[in-house]
């Protein structure tokens, strides 16, 4: 195993220091024989952790594979991603989650932590074998029907209660389905003008409120996926103040893009939950800063060209996120590097129960870290992305902050801006 000496890193954007990586850990042992890497001025962050990634394998390998998604993640500064369960077949059994976990190990670019489905086939009716998935080699702790809401309140209550037995958490895609039948974009003046069926904020907020009450009632952990409205933020604030064990995430795109993007009818901007208004963005940024929202998660959703180069109504919702998340948050989150580490690494690692991730790169910690050039600007070129898909909403944008190196257990997965494998 190579020993690396990172010279002159700015730890969490603060004081310059050298970091020695040996045997998968950060150590203060002898630097003799180490390969020296000039990292002068690069910001060292704990490797980022994504609570919400769609890797599409098994089933839609034409859009993304565990390997291509892992590479995209590493290039985005991630060392661990939670792979959502809406694959084909659905990750609702120990067999499927173990398969995804093993594919992740084989790719070796990030730790792929599978998320298990809450209900069989994401059907919302019958609980999947949550305990079996928790007990599998994949050690599943997050369960989610993401893409679908666990809408039946009785099923949701049971799921919340059941996973208490193994400190699991239900990550809810908050969308009351009866209020979003046929919905295409945020319900507001833009949807009225464009004649696209509206996805009202209340469809999210009604579920966030209901689930917070349920989680409080049964004393279970709830995680709210991709919070997108100012109203949800208010409900979360209330729930946290009331002692409910709730955490929440926001996506980079909901911190930047508004429903006005839909005016082009370009389905690259179609996403679920939909892009909202400038007022929602302001509330989400404030909530991320004050901790009402705990984490940034990408909701990285690769889609094949034919699923996006079509009519808006027929396009699949979702956008790429892994390779742009850090830049978007750095540019728009109003956070310093320590806060970015908190929202994109430490807290998500804690929520996902990943003990070896989310730890600041100081002696003794596992060497899972990323090094960012805060001065660099780069232009998003969809064809240059490592993802198997091209559906980034940031095409052509110049973004600040570039990931230079990423290390997983002491070995570079990204070196000088290029994936090592």
């Amino acid at each position: 195993m190579t020993t690396y000496l990172l010279k002159g890193v700015s730890l969490l954007g603060r004081d310059r220091t050298d970091l020695l990586l040996a045997d998968g850990r950060i150590t203060d042992a002898s630097t003799a024989g180490a390969e020296v890497i000039d990292a002068d001025g690069l910001v060292a962050l704990p490797g980022l952790v994504d609570l919400h990634t769609h890797l599409r394998e098994p089933g839609r390998e034409d859009a993304e594979t565990v390997e291509s998604g892992s590479r995209a993640a590493a290039l985005g500064g991630y060392t661990a991603v939670c792979a959502m369960a809406n694959t084909e077949p659905v990750a609702d059994t120990a067999g499927v989650v173990e398969q995804v976990w093993r594919l992740g190990r084989a790719a070796g670019l990030v730790d792929v932590q599978p998320v298990g489905a809450v209900t069989v086939g994401l059907g919302g009716e019958q609980l999947a074998e949550l305990g079996a998935m928790a007990g599998s080699a994949a050690r599943v702790r997050i369960f989610s029907d993401d893409g679908h809401c666990v809408a039946d309140p009785r099923v949701m209550r049971r799921a919340l209660e059941y996973v208490k037995a193994f400190d699991g958490v239900i990550a809810q895609h908050a969308e009351e389905p009866r209020l979003t039948v046929g919905a295409q974009m945020h319900e507001g003046s833009v949807s009225v003008r464009l004649g696209l069926a509206g996805w009202p904020a209340v469809a999210e907020e009604a579920i966030v409120a209901r689930d917070a009450l349920l989680a409080g009632h049964v004393g279970a952990r709830l995680h709210v996926c991709h919070v997108s409205t100012a109203g949800s933020v208010e409900i979360l604030r209330w729930a946290k103040r009331s002692g409910v064990r709730v955490t929440a995430e926001v996506t980079p795109h909901h911190l930047l893009l508004t429903d006005a993007s839909a005016e082009s009818y370009d389905p690259v901007f179609k996403v679920n939950p939909p892009l909202r208004t400038a007022e929602d963005i302001a509330a989400l940024r404030a909530a991320l800063a004050d901790g009402t929202i705990d984490a940034v998660a990408t909701d990285h959703a690769p889609h094949a060209v034919e699923d996006k180069e079509c009519e808006w109504d027929y396009a699949r919702p979702g956008m790429l996120g892994l390779e742009t998340a850090l830049s978007i948050v750095y540019q728009n989150g109003g956070l310093d590097w320590d806060q970015i580490a908190e929202r994109m690494s430490r807290t998500p690692a804690r929520i996902a129960g990943l003990a070896d991730h989310g730890r600041d790169p100081v002696p003794g910690a596992p060497a899972n870290l990323t090094l960012v050039d805060p001065q660099a600007r780069w232009r998003v070129d969809p064809t240059a992305l490592a993802s198997g898909s091209r559906n980034t909403p940031y095409a052509g944008m110049a973004l600040p902050g570039r990931v230079v190196h990423t290390f997983l257990r002491g070995e570079p997965t990204v070196f000088e801006g290029k994936a090592t494998r």
Binding site: Q184, E187, G188, S189, V190, S191, V192, R193, L194, G195, L196, A197, G198, S264, Y265, D266, E306, D307, E309, C310, E311, W312, D313, Y314
Partner: protein, 308 residues
């Protein structure tokens, strides 16, 4: 002149007036003639790309293009979707290869004409997209108002019914407002999108009581209401809808004497409009159909003539 007609918002007052004036001249040029044909677009190809059945709109565009001597290709793509059959993009590339100078598209998905415009070199005319817009319908409605009432500027127009799902309503609000009319949208609140007062044109008014509105309008435009909306809980029953928002003889008599009744068709007689009203001399429904051809001729001429 603009290259595509995708939304009534593409037309400012000047351009819209140019279209209406041109339509009037076209009417004049072929009025009382045996040969109802002009050589203007000889050698040009107009494709009617229809993803929805709409015989009346297709025939109107076809007649318009043929009266201008264009070659017309009807491409009925109904039943196609992304899952089966050819994608819109592949169809667009086919039309491009065939050298279409203009593509008239009717599509169930809002915004499809915008995407098509990005894939073909010719002009794209939106002939109705989902619940978005139907700009030539608004032009023919404005044309009809102008020929019946002499102007559009200053008119008070009530658009009544299922505004939520109506592309005709959206285009009319945009165009009539641009031309100086005052538009009032009337219907049950479930069928009036939240915030529509400000979403399309300032000065748009929303009212729920038809009887209060009728005495003050110059034009009442009735929208088609589909009975299936009832199943989605937009209103309790067809009977209640008709009682509250249907235009019958009594309501017709509540209109000012000069006011006209419009309907984009096809009508649900007995639902939003009673047979007595539909067949009354104040109804412009048949004229609207005739005017549709003239207005579409004008649009084709100006769009194709503008592509240099």
């Amino acid at each position: 002149m603009i290259r595509h007609l995708l939304s009534a918002a593409d037309l400012d007052a000047g351009t819209a007036t140019e279209v209406l004036d041109t339509a009037a001249r076209m009417d004049e040029a072929i009025a009382d003639r045996e040969v109802k044909k002009l050589p203007t677009l000889r050698g040009r190809t107009v494709v009617n790309l229809f993803y929805e059945d709409s015989t009346r709109t297709r025939i109107s565009f076809e007649a318009a293009a043929k009266r201008l001597s264009a070659d017309v290709i009807n491409f009925s793509a109904k039943g196609s979707s992304v899952s089966k059959g050819e994608s819109l993009k592949d169809t667009a590339l086919t039309l491009q290869a065939m050298g279409a100078d203009a593509v008239v598209i009717r599509h169930p998905a809002s915004g499809a004409p915008y995407q098509l415009a990005g894939w073909v070199n010719g002009s794209v005319l939106n002939a109705g997209d989902g619940t978005h817009e139907h700009p030539t319908q608004a032009l023919l409605d404005a044309y009809t108002m102008r020929s019946r009432l002499g102007r559009v500027d200053g008119l008070s127009v009530a658009i009544v019914g299922d505004v939520l799902h109506s592309r005709v309503a959206r285009s009319n609000v945009l165009l009539l407002s641009a031309l100086g009319a005052k538009v009032t949208l009337v219907g049950p609140p479930t069928l009036l999108p939240l915030g529509i007062e400000d979403a399309l044109a300032s000065g748009t008014e929303v009212r729920y009581d038809l009887d209060e509105v009728l005495p003050g309008v110059d034009v009442v435009m009735m929208l088609r209401v589909q009975r299936e909306r009832m199943e989605d809980a937009y209103f309790p029953s067809a009977r209640e809808y008709t009682r509250r928002y249907g235009l019958d003889g009594a309501r017709l008599r509540a209109l000012p004497e000069h006011a006209i009744v419009m309907h984009p068709g096809p009508m649900n007689r007995g639902m939003e409009i009673s047979p007595e009203v539909a067949d009354s001399p104040r109804s412009t429904i048949v004229e609207q159909v005739a005017n549709g051809v003239s207005v579409r001729m004008a649009v084709l001429y100006l769009l194709l003539g503008g592509a240099k």
